[in-house]
């Protein structure tokens, strides 16, 4: 079962089985974006409601694999209540983690200034980088959240 437990950490399976913040929000006042993974046809929707620069509510929907659903679910729990700029920092750190080369992962995981620091539960997703095709699954929701921000900026 080489590395499988790295991919499917218990907390990930938990979010997959019991997704948090699933659903939609009314637009307006919320904005929404749709993400699409051409590799597997998975689709995700993200709705956010921002007031005074703070994400006051967020929902996700669509269908996808355990990794994409769990990652989107965890994303909602971590970024809701954060300011837009805090959320962007988290997205940045998360994407950094997803782009770390497998080799560096093993060595670097102790360092406190590693991009994973401060990601909390999200760190459970770091095993995904050992499975390159699944990285697109893990980042699908996050890219869609970024699209929401663009949508917001263009209003």
């Amino acid at each position: 079962m080489s590395g499988l437990e790295d991919l499917y950490r218990e907390i990930i399976l938990d979010h997959y089985r019991n997704p948090r913040n699933q659903g939609e929000l009314e637009t307006p006042p919320a904005v929404m974006a749709e993400g699409f993974n051409p590799l597997c046809g998975d689709e995700v929707t993200v709705h956010i409601h921002v007031e005074d620069g703070v994400i006051v509510d967020m929902k996700f929907g669509g269908h996808g694999c355990s990794i994409s659903l769990a990652s989107a679910s965890m994303m909602t729990t971590v970024t809701t209540g954060k300011s837009l700029s805090e959320a962007k920092d988290i997205i940045y750190s998360f994407k950094q983690m997803m782009s770390i080369h497998e080799g560096r992962l093993e060595e670097g995981s102790e360092e406190t200034d590693s991009p994973m620091a401060g990601l909390g539960d999200l760190q459970a997703l770091q095993g995904v980088v050992k499975f390159p095709v699944r990285i697109k699954c893990a980042t699908l929701g996050w890219n869609t959240l970024e699209q929401c921000f663009e949508e917001l900026a263009s209003q």
Binding site: M1, S2, G3, L4, L7, Y8, L13, R17, L39, C40, G41, D42, E43, H63, G64, C65, S66, I67, F131, R134, C137
Partner: protein, 410 residues
């Protein structure tokens, strides 16, 4: 040669690879097949002993390379029972073969409103080239519907054929396994003055191919799915057609003469082979044909039928309604491709867990998105069988599926 899978398996070096100490179970031959040692040896000795550019060279080495390449053309030709090896055109893959027909024959024969009839289970390679002609020339792409069990629904064939200039269908489906009635469709096409192209990418590797029986006008297939190397595809076409078609790609080899004012094209097959051909790959494909013929394509077909029956039976016995297998049940009209949906576990997750058990299957849309839409799924898990698979591989698949269920059950 009598057919003995356990002996034959040893011909394929990759199949004796172990993954974390467990043997590797390769069930993705519909994507690409593994290669026998003999094919690898032929490619290797081509490069070590006779590598030179073909045609035009007057030295021995170049002659040997040319002979090796043209002998491979003869082999491929007789493998599909063509009696004219100049009807064999080498391309880089089946996709290029079909684009060649779309661009060369299509652009000079299809006009606004003309119809190309495809089926609802086609691979993108037999869809997108026609969509491109729809964009550039306003042709219509029309779809043969499917029955519940994934067969062609031909009840309305007459109406479907109205205005059709080309019937372009798979010889065997890479998703459902379906083997449609090509001969009947080719005859029907001819009756309305249309031509028939067969995407034989999943047909030629798996059963004896006889052009006379198929009755089609073009046949496209790809080397890497039939024990041959990557980088090589084939288009067979009737010589009268090929001769009447304009060139496709322009460059060396495909010309008789070039001046500052223009060019004249070479005779077939070279007219359609611009530039340095994939020489080692052609020679390697010849070796793959030798290998398959030494096994015997009748044997390959029989073996796959038996194994597919076993797989359908085993999986339905063990998983019942938890596992949906798309496509026909009757092995006389289907090949060894099993597209599955397992409980509500996402195909990506299924294939990931299967992989951790050393079982290689594909998860995705299999380049057949219109079919996925019809099946109302985003993706399936696909296990596909070939001559080197046996019952133990099917059992390993079933065991790994069971483990998958356990893994994701709450």
């Amino acid at each position: 040669m009598s057919f003995n899978v356990s002996v034959l398996k040893k011909d394929f070096p990759l199949l004796s690879r172990e993954e974390n100490g467990e043997p590797l179970i390769y069930l993705d031959s519909a994507a690409t097949s593994q290669k026998p040692q003999k094919v690898l040896d032929v490619i290797d000795s081509y490069y070590r002993e006779i590598n030179a550019n073909v045609h035009r060279g007057a030295y021995r080495l170049a002659e040997q390379a040319t002979t090796a390449m043209e002998e491979a053309r003869e082999k491929v030709s007789s493998f599909i029972k063509s009696d004219r090896s100049e009807e064999i055109i080498f391309t880089k893959n089946a996709t290029e073969s079909m684009n060649l027909v779309a661009r060369s024959w299509g652009e000079s024969n299809l006009n606004e409103g003309d119809v190309v009839l495809v089926s609802s289970l086609e691979h993108h390679a037999n869809i997108v080239p026609w969509h491109q002609l729809a964009e550039s020339r306003g042709i219509e792409v029309r779809w043969i519907p499917l029955t519940e069990s994934g067969l062609f629904d031909l009840t309305d064939l007459d109406r479907l054929l109205d205005g059709v200039k080309l019937v372009a269908v798979s010889g065997a489906s890479n998703v459902l396994g379906t083997v449609p009635p090509v001969r009947m469709l080719a005859d029907a096409a001819h009756n309305v003055g249309a031509l028939c192209l067969v995407d034989a990418s999943q047909y030629v590797p798996h059963r004896p191919t006889d052009l006379a029986e198929l009755g089609c006008d073009f046949l496209a297939f790809t080397g890497h799915k039939m024990c041959g190397p990557t980088g090589i595809g084939v288009l067979w076409g009737r010589s009268e057609l090929l001769e009447s078609m304009p060139a496709f790609l322009g460059g060396g080899e495909m010309i008789l003469d070039v001046t500052k004012e223009g060019f004249t094209t070479n005779t077939i097959p070279w007219k359609f082979e611009a530039g340095t051909p994939p020489i080692a790959e052609i020679v390697g494909l010849g070796a793959a044909v030798d290998y398959l013929e030494s096994v015997g394509m009748e044997n390959v077909l029989d073996h796959e039928k038996t194994l597919t029956s076993y797989a359908l039976q085993t999986l339905s016995d063990r998983f019942g309604n938890d596992l949906i297998i798309h496509g026909p049940n009757d092995v006389s009209v289907r090949g060894g491709v099993l597209s599955m949906c397992y409980q509500d576990v996402h195909p990506h997750d299924v294939s990931q867990i299967l992989d951790s058990h050393g079982v290689c299957v594909r998860a995705g849309h299999h380049c057949a998105k219109p079919l996925m839409k019809l099946l109302d799924v985003n993706a399936t898990v696909r296990a596909s069988l070939y001559l080197y698979n046996d019952e133990s591989d099917v059992d390993a698949l079933a065991d790994a599926l069971e483990a998958t269920g356990q893994f994701f059950s709450p």
